[in-house]
């Protein structure tokens, strides 16, 4: 048993040193980020239970029990972006890894041996990242840590206080840190296992179970669930408004994440039916035949957009035109809004990488047909446009749906034509969609070297 584990660990070490290190590094980076954020959540919860919490100066988001739940949910929602990137990163180098696993089967490895080696390849860096998450936590604690002592006045110190988002008077116990690291590592292993669950690895190569049918819009149920919550929250004076808001945001985010494959599929079909250019036709057909891969990469865009759309409504209600507009708005509101903006930008950056990883995998998988397209006379720009359309056809509709779902109901319910600041939500919506468009372009730009390699004539002769 020990000898077998030793052999498998040596094999994994050899695979990592033979080109798997970037993937392992990215897996570890994703789990480190998630682990660090979960440790912050744990610290906030420990702070809530701490009898000495009054003695620490922290942001109202941490100190006020009424909004603390929302803060914790926001931290957990931030984890969605690195987890989505983790799902993508695990698929890096799929073709090479599958060939290697088939070769191992040919050399005498059993299916369970191969599964275990695959799990170790993801699990080891995932757990290592889980432990490295403590460093992320320590860094966040150092930058955003609370200060011991009494509250002092002044608007600049008030801004600083609202940025003290991590309590320092409490600290997770060693076994809690261990549990978080192992738990996040396990999440990485599970993500790896789900990524390869459709594979049948035989000594002759890798085949896949029959593809699932076309995606269905069943996730719309979650979005529909949000409707009565929204009505109760806004129209009937709910007795639990904070809880309602948390459930509403969670339902919208999860609903949009799950709806992405269906949106990709429908958009792919619609574009294919009307395409007049090769990039639109090829990208549309790619989505119509396998919507899930691109949707997996761009789904988080919907979650980002719904939060941005909903969040964009808040600033429009804060300024008072009769008291100098934005002057004098309490940092209690402005600092969290700015923090949400920064977090959304960071999440969009992670999604950009996620889309780039999808682009790379798409290019590696399709190098033969891409090389053939180049040989037929498709220019480098046209081939790049195929890649851009493939992710853009998912990301941009998800962004539009997200901002409409996020801000639409509020604008419909409270949209006052005479309101001096009614333009703010619309501006936030437009900026969000524009940033998603930029993210799509950036992700395609990142994949350019792989596109050049995929269109090389050498790929014309591969079987």
């Amino acid at each position: 048993m020990t000898a077998r584990l030793g052999t498998e660990l040596r094999l994994v070490g050899a695979f990592l040193s033979a080109g798997g290190a970037p993937r392992a590094g990215m897996v570890a980076a994703c789990t480190a980020l998630v682990s660090g954020l979960v440790l912050v959540v744990l610290t906030v919860l420990l702070f809530a239970l701490s009898p000495s919490r009054e003695r620490e100066q922290v942001s109202e988001l941490v100190a006020d029990g009424g909004v603390r739940g929302g803060y914790v949910l926001a931290l957990l929602l931030i984890c969605v972006a690195p987890l989505a990137l983790l799902r993508q990163v695990i698929r890096l180098g799929t073709a090479t890894r599958e060939q290697r696993l088939a070769a191992l089967r040919l050399a005498g490895a059993t299916p369970s041996d191969v599964r275990r080696i695959g799990a170790l390849e993801v699990g080891l860096p995932a757990v290592a990242g889980g432990f490295a998450g403590y460093l992320v936590f320590a860094a966040l604690r150092a930058v955003f840590g609370g200060r011991a002592g009494a509250d002092v006045g002044g608007s600049s110190t008030e801004v600083a206080r609202q940025l003290q988002l991590v309590p320092t008077s409490v600290h997770p116990a060693w076994w809690q840190v261990l549990l978080v690291a192992l738990g996040v590592g396990l999440a990485g292993v599970l993500a790896g296992a789900t990524a390869s669950r459709s594979l049948i690895i035989s000594p002759l190569g890798v085949s896949r179970h029959a593809p699932r049918g076309a995606p269905r819009p069943t996730a719309a149920v979650l979005l529909l669930l949000a409707v009565p919550i929204f009505i109760a929250r806004t129209g009937f004076g709910s007795s639990t408004p904070e809880l309602d808001t948390l459930v509403l945001v969670a339902a919208l985010v999860l609903g949009l994440l799950a709806l992405a494959p269906w949106v990709a599929y429908r958009v792919g079909r619609a574009v294919t039916a009307r395409a007049t250019s090769v990039p639109a036709l090829v990208a549309g057909r790619r989505l119509a035949t396998d919507a899930r891969a691109a949707a997996r990469a761009a789904a988080v865009v919907g979650a980002i957009a719904v939060v941005a759309g909903g969040g964009g409504v808040v600033p429009s209600s804060l300024p008072d035109p009769s008291r100098g507009g934005f002057d004098g708005v309490d940092p209690f509101y402005t600092v969290p809004i700015a923090a949400v903006g920064v977090v959304l930008l960071a999440a969009l950056l992670l999604v950009t990488f996620s889309m780039a990883v999808h682009g790379v995998e798409s290019l590696v998988d399709r190098k033969r047909s891409i090389a053939a397209l180049a040989a037929l006379g498709a220019s480098a720009e046209e081939l790049e446009r195929v890649q851009r359309w493939e992710v853009g056809l998912v990301a941009l509709p998800m962004a539009v749906i997200g901002v409409l779902v996020g801000s639409g109901p509020y604008l419909l319910a409270f949209g006052d034509v005479g309101h001096s600041y009614a333009w703010i939500p619309l501006l936030v919506d437009c900026v969000t969609v524009a940033l998603v468009w930029l993210a799509v372009r950036l992700s395609t730009w990142i994949t350019r070297p792989w596109l050049v390699r995929a269109s090389a004539p050498a790929n014309l002769r591969t079987a």
Partner: protein
């Protein structure tokens, strides 16, 4: 006979391997030329250089009185999609597109109207006895069927020359014979030139002329008897 494609003193290396060592070849308009030779002799490299897909390190490639080797990547690409058809060993169809969409691709790349491109694609599929495959994706096609679709794709623009790299190399004898017969009939009908790489003597025997390569040099050239 007017010379359509000319390669002169072509040299091409990959890492330390010299694939072509000063190969010269002339191909007349409407001619069917077979390039043969053992594995690694430089057959495919020569074909890809003549088609402007690879750029030789030395020597000249002249297509229809134009120096192909002097054109930039974008110009070579445009010329290729207007004037040349390409057939590769494994068909190399775009897996997500239907057979008809694959055949229409070169026309769509040339910004032809979608409906007109589809009509032309269906017409060529019909001509090659593959009309019933129009709405199938490559995964649903046999090797021979996929190769017939690839032949239709190569001919749909009415090219002056078709370059075929082992067009029957991945097919069984019967399917190979069928595809070859259809390819030859189609190029003869249209008056196009055909340059095909093959290691199969039976395929080479159907050409007008044969160029034999060995170790990157022309070993023999002559009319097929």
């Amino acid at each position: 006979m007017t010379v359509l494609v000319q390669g002169h003193a072509l040299r091409k290396s990959f890492a330390r391997t010299e694939a072509l060592r000063g190969v010269s070849v002339e191909i007349g308009a409407g001619e069917i030329l077979a390039i043969t030779g053992p594995s690694g002799s430089g057959k495919s490299t020569l074909l890809l250089c003549l088609a402007g897909i690879l750029r030789p390190e030395a020597g000249e490639v002249i297509f229809d009185q134009q120096r192909l080797d002097r054109l930039g990547e974008a110009d070579r690409t445009r010329l290729r999609r207007r004037e040349m058809g390409i057939v590769l060993q494994f068909g190399q169809l775009v897996p997500e597109l239907t057979a008809a969409q694959n055949v229409a691709l070169p026309l769509l790349l040339e910004k032809h109207d979608r409906a007109a491109a589809r009509r032309a694609a269906l017409s060529w599929l019909d001509r090659l006895g593959a009309a019933d495959l129009a709405d199938q994706v490559p995964a649903e096609l046999s090797g021979g069927q996929a190769q017939r679709v690839a032949v239709a794709r190569a001919l749909v623009t009415g090219p002056k020359v078709v370059f075929a790299d082992e067009p029957t190399g991945a097919l069984d004898t019967v399917a190979g014979e069928q595809v070859l017969g259809q390819l030859l009939a189609a190029v003869r009908d249209t008056g196009a030139t055909l340059v095909m790489v093959t290691h199969d003597n039976r395929v080479a025997a159907r050409a007008d002329r044969e160029v034999v390569l060995r170790d990157g040099s022309v070993e023999a050239a002559g009319v097929v008897s």
